[in-house]
Symmetry: C2
Amino acid sequence: MNKEINIGLFGFGVVGSGLYNVLNLSEASHIKISKIVVKNPKKKRSIPSENFFFDKQTILLDLKINTVVELINDPEEAYQIVKTALKYGKHVVSANKKMIAEHLNELIALANNNNVSFLYEAAVAGSIPIIRNLEEYYNNDTLSSILGIVNGTTNFILTQANEGISYKKAMQIAQEKGFAETDPTSDVDGFDSKYKLSILIKHAFGIHVNSNSIFNNGIRNIKPRDIQYANEKGYRIKLFARAEKIDNQIIGFVAPQFVKQDNFCYQVNNEFNAITVEAAFSDKQLFIGKGAGSFPTASAVLSDISALVYDYKYEYRKSAVEGKVNFTSNFYVRVYLGSENRIDLSRIDLIQEDESFFSDEYSFKIGWIVFSELEKFDFNEWKEISLIILPNEVELAEIQYFTLQNTTELILE
Amino acid sequence: MNKEINIGLFGFGVVGSGLYNVLNLSEASHIKISKIVVKNPKKKRSIPSENFFFDKQTILLDLKINTVVELINDPEEAYQIVKTALKYGKHVVSANKKMIAEHLNELIALANNNNVSFLYEAAVAGSIPIIRNLEEYYNNDTLSSILGIVNGTTNFILTQANEGISYKKAMQIAQEKGFAETDPTSDVDGFDSKYKLSILIKHAFGIHVNSNSIFNNGIRNIKPRDIQYANEKGYRIKLFARAEKIDNQIIGFVAPQFVKQDNFCYQVNNEFNAITVEAAFSDKQLFIGKGAGSFPTASAVLSDISALVYDYKYEYRKSAVEGKVNFTSNFYVRVYLGSENRIDLSRIDLIQEDESFFSDEYSFKIGWIVFSELEKFDFNEWKEISLIILPNEVELAEIQYFTLQNTTELILE
């Protein structure tokens, strides 16, 4: 029960240095950082330079180090480090969502074969213990959906935008506050959210869907007129990563969505993250917390490290379904499509159009579309079009999906 | 990994029958209810009468039953059953908060001595996995506070009351909807909340504080004028169970509190429960879900049962502090005291009075008081007085406490 955790740390950025500080402040005497490897020998850091090494083998070949904590940005380099560390029989704690989303099954197999743990709570929604809960607590239950605001940057920008501040100005504030990167593409176009969604799907539903197969539409093209529409209807716009299980099929995507006031996520603003878990018997559960930042993320990493002391592993009990359930785009969704030019709108066919509005300045239409049709467009690159998912009109604040087989009358021929 | 769970079930009320249904609907083939013991042979039930036994020994002496699930109302009888089951080497899953709050350390010792698990997630906040999270996830972190709406009945009544419906009418609606018992004393006077708080304190801070030592003031005396005051200030009133760790002292109590709009709990209405956990590094986390009802509670019970398959136990790692930290009433709190008669108010001395209002119909005063002074009154029985805790004026939506040693200038002499 009092196993020593001897850490080799890769990366000393916001999270790495946060972890260093958290460990120094906490009373975990059996956990220590033994070596730190960073990329740039010249960068000025908050602790003396003799603490740093620059060759990854310094950690990987050190037999006394039993745990690698990987907190670097480069997903390819992270992949090499994590793979090697697992092969060498070291436990790994990582926060690199892109790397994990793209190589999850391979890394799980490696960890199993070498009888070590591979933990990554910090990769999804920072300090919210969502992976642990999906693994441990929602294991018995028939999970039906997960819906999350898992990117703090976009939630911060949308909070500003919902209050009438322009996207450009909101982005500037986010960058000044350190919530947005210099190149914010991964956040604002929904890539970051879908890496996290890929990981959530594995722990919620048992299958690994590579993030390349998941549709992501971000918030870059949302226009003041869309916000105006939202305000008129009493909605706020949130960027959701969501997945549902319908019979033996899993659907999942990242897209902005109108949210009504009676949805808990309506109140989740600024850099906060939130995840709603819905299960057959436990009803809806909501988790809210800070999704990013030095200490919240470092705290999640430390939680994983502490769990290693007790030999904790993800068991992936739901993975027995791998091969039996499949990921599908074969479902309907109700969308709002807006543009300054009505010709743009005519390029997307809805199978059922519920509403449309046309004017010289702005036009929009609302209706149902098969998701696989929607996926044919790259909306992030199609700047003229705003695509926003609508809340269901019947069940409050929820999208209504229905799989094709249940709605034969609506099947496209 | 595929241990058979052979259950002896005590009680077939809302939760017991819910569990029975949930188990029938789930795919957990290695979990089965072998025998059910109920009290009343004559009561009509949803399944055939040959399923029921009436002597508790039928389960307790059955060597094939390895797990007792205790879901009866009577705390004293529950205590006898749980004690005996643990002694006989059976795992126990219970939802009886009063019984657990009053005998926790004894039952933990019994479980340890007999090398069995004693789990009770359903006892606190129904389907919200708060005990598991406090045990597993917030183990490494320096937890500083927990604040919860842990009683759905009072939250439902307060939601109505905040909207201007009288307490009496709100209680009637709650009873019609099945949210309130015929005798609602335990709920509305805050007893139920403090049993749960006692359990939360054990898992959050490591010490067992018997619920008899915890102050509880419920919502029975809240008057329309208090609601009016709340509305004027933009507050809602919520019944909070809360505990904080300040240095090596734990404080905790149950009382109504004014909540501002920017507090997440402001939006937690009707029968929903919510728990905020604050920790040094992970910042604030919020969990929201249904706290009561047949399926949410049964789902929590089933989660415990499923965890038994993997030999799960609460480790009580924080209990090492038992004896080193103490529970204290030696702190200040800012209160609102209202009454239709100003003479009532004069019976309670504030050490610092910030505001007061007097009229023929209604009077109130606001200010600081030492908590141990407040505890001398039984506010549940003192119908004339409304006692409501105020949110801090500096840090939003939080009470400001300060321990006596930190505020020498305010010490009473």
